[in-house]
């Protein structure tokens, strides 16, 4: 009996939320200005903790494309977006960059080992070299950390590109498990005829 109640409750929520997200792109769609035009492959959906969506779109050779991501403010921090081709090559990503996190961790470990070495050496040329290295690694870490912060708190919200040939692009959107509540994510695709590259 409890399961039946839960089922109807899920159905109820699904209906109510999916309806509200259908209109999510309406305002933004009307904001697409000439020579750009709205592309019918745009999509919006409801997102909550743990949800993943994959939207496969076709981009034609001879057109320039912009994919803009519009996310409800309440879930923005917990949404990861990745645009890849069919082979998995990443062209655009937002959210936590796992590679960058790994690099920072490695650099911090390296810094620690350099600092330990520096403690053992009191003076001399080796000491000066080590201190210079430590400063360089610290600078690198600080650069990567600010990059990470930038991605986390001020992510790019659009991706403009020209496909070399007609190709399939896969837009992956996922909400992390830390996501509290629900919100909408809109993928607004617009295109325009590609400008000629030569005479």
């Amino acid at each position: 009996m409890k399961n039946t109640i839960l089922f109807f409750f899920i159905l109820l929520l699904n209906n109510a939320f999916s309806q509200s997200c259908n209109d999510f792109l309406l305002v933004h769609k009307n904001g697409v200005r000439y020579p750009w035009k709205y592309d019918i492959q745009s999509k919006s959906a409801i997102f909550f903790a743990g949800k993943n969506s994959r939207v496969n779109i076709i981009c034609n050779e001879g057109k320039d494309y912009t994919i803009s991501f519009i996310v409800s403010s309440q879930i923005m921090e917990h949404i990861n977006i990745k645009v890849t081709d069919a082979t998995g090559k990443v062209y655009f990503s937002t959210g936590i960059d796992e590679e960058l996190v790994k690099t920072i961790k490695q650099k911090k470990e390296f810094l620690l080992s350099l600092e330990n070495q520096a403690l053992k050496i009191k003076t001399g040329k080796k000491k000066i070299e080590l201190e210079a290295n430590i400063n360089n690694v610290k600078l690198e870490i600080s650069k990567y950390e600010s990059e990470l912060e930038q991605k986390r708190y001020k992510p790019n919200t659009s991706f403009e590109f020209t496909p070399a040939s007609t190709m399939e692009l896969i837009v992956n959107v996922s909400a992390t498990d830390k996501c509290v509540g629900k919100g909408c994510v809109g993928i607004l695709v617009s295109n325009k005829p590609s400008e000629k590259q030569s005479f």
Partner: protein, 289 residues
């Protein structure tokens, strides 16, 4: 407890009814478990297909000349599937006529699409003022294509909002086949490097998404299933075309990010003729009464 269940059922019915503006009914499979529902809700895959006007506009960009009398004559269809597929056919025809600046003809096809949308219960999809705006902008090509394209997009979006997946798929099949038919009619002579032929071969990707879109439908009817089988066999032919790929590193040229690789389709005349014949047969099947 029974009262609570009844209350939830009642509220669900009211919300389901109020959220769907068309008169569709949604059936719930009794065997669906709650776990299935949650799993499905957590993982979604959508296959999108470009609108017919996207492909048609590229034909003009490829310097394809306009040919008269290749669009489907306007007719009335009785069978629901025919009505839907031919709405897609007329959308492609309208895009072709609008792209090439055939103003009066475009208005005629627009009028037909509007009445077909009304018959599908989508009278709100095309604004009442649209026809008036078209007549005012009849000599402005950009305005004409914008109004006609947006009207078609509104129809498709309203259908998607109503979760009328089978109608969406039927319109896409009709629109895709008609736009391919138009492209094939604009080719004067087979040459592998003809830009229109290269564009036709590249439509394999859109066809694949169309097939996957159909396959992802939960309750596909027998008529659509038959079309799915037909376009799948067509895809096999497209898939047999070998390609030559030149790597283009993600680069910035003239402030533009170029992505992907340059693909040339090594299509031969035999395969081209096979595709042409099949498309013509499918198109004739769709437009016949």
């Amino acid at each position: 407890m029974k009262k609570i269940v009844n209350l939830f059922i009642g509220i669900s019915i009211i919300i389901t009814w109020s959220c769907n503006s068309s008169n569709q009914t949604q059936t719930i499979d009794q065997n669906d478990t709650i776990a299935d529902t949650i799993a499905q809700a957590n993982e979604e895959v959508f296959y999108q297909v470009p609108s017919p006007d996207e492909f048609i506009s590229l034909l003009k960009e490829s310097k394809a000349p306009f040919k008269a009398n290749i669009v489907s004559p306007i007719s009335d269809y009785v069978l629901p599937l025919k009505q839907k597929m031919n709405l897609g056919v007329y959308a492609a025809d309208m895009a072709y006529l609008a792209t090439y600046g055939k103003f009066q003809e475009t208005v005629r096809y627009f009028g037909k699409i509007k009445s077909m949308a009304d018959n599908l219960g989508l009278s709100n999809a095309i604004e009442k003022s649209a026809m008036e705006r078209i007549e005012k902008n009849i000599t402005n090509l950009d305005s004409l294509t914008t109004i006609t394209n947006n009207s078609f997009y509104n129809i498709m979006e309203q259908l998607k909002q109503n979760s009328d997946e089978s109608t969406v798929a039927s319109i896409y099949i009709g629109g895709w086949i008609e736009s391919m038919y138009i492209a094939l009619q604009l080719v004067n002579k087979f040459e592998q490097n003809n830009p229109i032929i290269q564009r036709i071969a590249a439509q394999k990707l859109a066809l694949n998404n169309l097939i996957l879109m159909l396959k992802s439908q939960k309750n596909i009817n027998n008529e659509l299933l038959s079309w799915l089988n037909s376009i799948q066999s067509l895809y096999e032919i497209f898939n047999s075309i070998e390609t030559k790929t030149e790597e283009v590193n993600t680069s910035t040229a003239n402030n533009k990010v170029i992505i992907g690789s340059k693909t040339t389709y090594l299509i031969n005349k035999e395969t081209y003729e096979k595709i042409k014949n099949i498309i013509e047969n499918y198109r004739n099947e769709i437009i016949k009464q």
